[in-house]
């Protein structure tokens, strides 16, 4: 639709303008600049989407001479036969679904407090944001040493206060959640600042008007802050969800999917199938499934955002 309108507009206007001096040189400028840029986009953004879809319908191995068409059999194998795919899918979903409330519950109160704090705000902001700029690999190695069952600080601390030490990353029940805690520690600062930006975007007039009308702090919070923060919250929810659905680095470095695949996520499994077992057709089919999940989340977000508060 937008495309059609755009073309009809451009077709009518230039008639008067096309004779205008410099039209040819402008079009030359557009062509010379845009063709290489769009070429790169086609090569590295558009073409890969086509290739991954094509691969998912074939048995593809870089080393094999032929790649026969096998229809939807890669998908059938994933959903009906392969227990490791199901395991990776479940791990990915539970990881992303828990990450969202964990992030919100921790970052929103901190942002609300930070909005009240006047002095030292920059100091606190620096402290909260430092993990965000650090590399995920360095952070993962750091937390691996903290979680170490023998020499790690966490168990040393638990011993000190009289609690039972845990095997953390070595325990199939705890591994994925231990990684999640480290990842949340790293991302929290970002969400705090997004919430802070949202809070600062609410005009002071609203609060002043409510105060004049006799609204108490709680009424102001529930009546102004909560509804006007809905967009920001939705944004944080979706962004967190999408980024945790793609989790790779923290898990690969800290557990490599173990122990006994208890923390293996989809991207980790796609990587293993595609680049270690060289089953690129099957890995592509799983990539398409992941893309479907992420697009679904994005579309739900766009739908929800359409009918929300504007101020």
């Amino acid at each position: 639709m937008a495309a059609l309108i755009g073309e009809s507009v451009t077709r009518e206007k230039p008639r008067a303008r096309s004779r205008a001096p410099g039209h040819a040189s402008r079009m030359r400028f557009v062509a010379i600049s845009l063709i290489p840029i769009l070429g790169l986009l086609v090569l590295f953004s558009l073409l890969p989407i086509g290739i991954v879809a094509w691969l998912s319908l074939h048995r593809y191995n870089q080393l094999a001479p032929t790649s026969p068409w096998i229809g939807l059999r890669n998908y059938e194998f994933a959903f009906q036969t392969d227990p490791f795919f199901r395991n990776a899918l479940e791990n990915t979903l539970k990881y992303a679904v828990v990450a969202v409330p964990a992030n919100i519950v921790l970052s929103l109160p901190i942002a609300l407090g930070l909005n009240q704090v006047k002095r030292f705000r920059a100091v606190f902001r620096t402290a909260f944001f430092m993990p965000v700029v650090a590399s995920a690999v360095a952070v993962s190695l750091l937390w691996t040493t903290i979680y170490d069952p023998q020499a790690g600080w966490l168990n040393a601390f638990l011993n000190q206060v009289g609690l039972t030490p845990q095997p953390w990353l070595k325990d199939p029940d705890l591994a994925i959640w231990s990684v999640l805690a480290a990842a949340v520690w790293q991302d929290l600062g970002y969400n705090i600042l997004v919430f802070l930006a949202g809070l600062q975007g609410i005009p002071d007039d609203f609060y002043d008007a409510a105060k004049v009308d006799g609204a108490g702090p709680w009424q102001r919070f529930l009546g102004i802050t909560v509804p006007l923060l809905q967009r920001t919250t939705l944004f944080v929810v979706v962004l967190t969800m999408i980024s945790y659905l793609q989790e790779f680095t923290h898990i690969q470095v800290m557990t490599n999917g173990g122990p006994i695949r208890s923390s293996e996520t989809l991207v980790l499994y796609i990587y293993a199938k595609g680049f270690e077992d060289l089953q690129m057709g099957y890995a592509s089919a799983m990539s398409i499934v992941l893309m479907g999940i992420i697009l679904l989340v994005t579309l739900v977000q766009m739908r929800l955002l359409r009918s929300r508060w504007e101020y």
């Binding site: 986009l41 190695l141 020499a151 600042l193």
Partner: protein, 288 residues
């Protein structure tokens, strides 16, 4: 309710005292939270400064008893650390400069020029933004392989030279620059390239700073793509090299933390200096 209390001095004092108490609690809480956030970094440095004997002690000591630079020295002697650092710096700055050029140029063209198919192309561009990179891992690898890029730093640079998101960000901003300014320069006989370089780029500095910071950090910290396309230690970037170094020195947390600290500290220093700009850039880049 609160308005009537103005004459009630006692209640006012009580309220103020309560507020003061509340602020005190808030600052105490924040200090605690800030400690939780920074403690892991302190632990990283603590490990890095320990001796190989102290690092294996159970329970671990909080402060190194005899702090030394030995582990840093070992990392620098045993591993081509400066090479890795240089690779990361080279790749990240090249990507950033090229992305800033391509995205500002394309953003300008999408914002201020009319040409056939413009809106259709822009819609396709927006759609590609929704597909996350890990989904395209395999085809991107195959394309990079066809182009003969594998196991060279070019494999890290070439696929990252244009960003659909960057073009979108620049277009949104440049659309707000008055067209009259551009038309006036054109009437004065300025060439299209000089209009871009002398008018558009200087005016589009704020989003370019944001895009630059965002791009640089993403490239500097990237792990998944280098893991796939780089095989040689000599061509490694820092995150990839760190995991290799870790696998070579398992359980030598003093060395691993020294290497990690050397990778993280420069970024933290730059962050502390340009704090405001970096925070704004990342928040803006996320919010779109």
């Amino acid at each position: 309710m609160a308005l009537v209390q103005e004459t009630d001095v006692g209640s006012l004092v009580r309220q103020r005292r309560f507020r003061k108490f509340g602020t005190g609690v808030l600052y105490t809480l924040f200090t605690l939270v800030a400690v939780v956030f920074t403690l892991p970094f302190f632990l990283m440095l603590s490990s890095a400064f320990k001796s190989s004997a102290e690092i294996i002690r159970i329970p671990p000591t909080l402060f190194p008893e005899d702090p030394s630079f030995d582990s840093f020295r070992t990392v620098l002697n045993d591993a081509p650390f400066f090479r890795w650092f240089g690779n990361s710096l080279l790749v990240s700055s090249t990507i950033t400069l090229i992305v800033l050029f391509t995205c500002s140029l394309a953003g300008y063209i999408f914002a201020k020029f009319e040409f056939p198919g413009r809106d259709a192309i822009f819609v396709v561009l927006l759609m590609t933004m929704m597909v996350p990179f890990p989904v395209l891992l395999i085809p991107t690898f195959l394309i990079a392989n066809e182009l003969g890029l594998i196991n060279s730093l070019w494999a890290l640079i070439v696929p990252a030279m244009v960003s659909a998101f960057g073009i979108f960000l620049m277009r949104q901003f440049i659309a707000g620059i008055p067209t009259d300014l551009i038309e006036a320069a054109r009437l004065d006989g300025a060439s299209e390239w000089s209009i871009y370089a002398r008018i558009v780029v200087p005016l589009a500095r704020p989003p370019m700073a944001a895009l630059g910071i965002f791009t640089f950090l993403a490239a500097w910290n990237d792990y998944l793509w280098p893991l796939i396309v780089i095989n040689d230690l000599e061509k490694s970037t820092l995150p990839l090299a760190l995991t290799f170094f870790n696998s070579q020195h398992a359980q030598r947390y003093d060395l691993v933390m020294a290497a990690a600290a050397m990778a993280v500290i420069p970024v933290i220093i730059v962050f502390v200096i340009f704090q405001r700009q970096i925070v704004n850039a990342l928040v803006l880049a996320g919010l779109k």
